[in-house]
Symmetry: C2
Subunit: 197 residues, 2 copies
């Protein structure tokens, strides 16, 4: 009886976790500008999924930047490290059998490619929340666009840092023209088969 000898024997399989939860696990990644509506759609989707007895968890700035990534800033290196860690946390959530939702600007192709690599392409859904920047900026809930325009925030995505649009997103959502409930139903239709045992 030692630390690792019986490790394999006792490991819970992916199938066991899926059986217990009655669905497969998945990462649903929302990428888009600040103010595009990523968190709103993710949160509404999570409510919808929980209503269908699907086991979920949402990763977003609130529970990541204040917790595990509280030591990171907003330099290019720190942003990449921020997403790398989120990718690994997300991987563990999906390994745990959950449907994990994640809402992060994640503006760069190579960072999103790294995320898919970490989590596994076959269980990674990429949703591009493609709301026009004028709409995002008009919303400006946190006043970040105004600050960025005044030059008080450097490297603010969409203002003075690039957003690289996903080349092959699984779904595209524009919250300025689609109702929230319609977006949620469209996402659910897309993932339904992937969740089925």
């Amino acid at each position: 009886m030692t630390d690792n000898v019986f490790h394999q024997d006792f490991a819970i399989s992916e199938e066991q976790r899926a059986q217990l939860k009655d669905h497969k696990s998945l990462m649903i990644w929302f990428t888009g500008l600040s103010g595009s509506g990523k968190s709103t759609v993710a949160n509404a989707l999570e409510q919808y999924l929980v209503g269908k007895k699907i086991h979920t968890f949402t990763l977003d700035g609130d529970n990541i930047r204040l917790g595990i990534n509280a030591d990171l800033g907003f330099s290019t290196e720190d942003r990449t490290e921020n997403l790398r860690r989120i990718g690994h946390v997300g991987k563990l959530m999906v390994d745990a059998g959950l449907v994990c939702l994640a809402a992060f600007v994640s503006p760069l192709n190579h960072d999103r490619a790294a995320l898919k690599e970490i989590i596994g392409k076959e269980r990674f859904i990429e949703i591009f929340v493609d709301t026009p920047i004028e709409v995002c900026e008009a919303r400006d809930v946190k006043g970040l666009y105004a600050k960025a325009r005044r030059g008080e925030i450097k490297d603010f995505t969409g203002v003075n840092a690039p957003f690289e649009a996903p080349e092959h997103p699984d779904l595209v959502i524009d919250t300025s023209i689609e109702e929230l409930a319609a977006s949620v139903e469209r996402i659910y239709k897309f993932i339904q088969n992937k969740l089925s045992l």
Copy 2:
């Protein structure tokens, strides 16, 4: 409809998650020397819990050191950062409604105190796997004690780095004198009430 406006309205509550899973969430933290049997007990407990339809996940060196903490070494600073991150991952797992098991040497009182702070004392169970070092060293599955005795590993807990025994562990287990099944049942009896809705 913006990133955060509806955040509160759509948030899933702790109670909703517990209802869906039919049990409360908890962190079960195993601390002890290398070779003490932490992972073996954790893995056997996880099998037992899954058999009772409890939603679990186990964090250990295998899925942490090769993943989110692959950038960390074994200096004092890196060990503290290693545990800080594990604490935050564990917090998210418990926030997600899971019974999270974690098996890490975690030899220092202040690191374990920090973990309790991050995860929340009321949902943190500390299990001290107090197997005599002679037994741990005789097992030496990975040959680490031999290497440490030859001076090839610096700061190896129990050989040339301290293990600070927990002062008030919730349970103490000595895998050299207690059968695995008995340990598992003892832990289950201890946590059963804490899991009940």
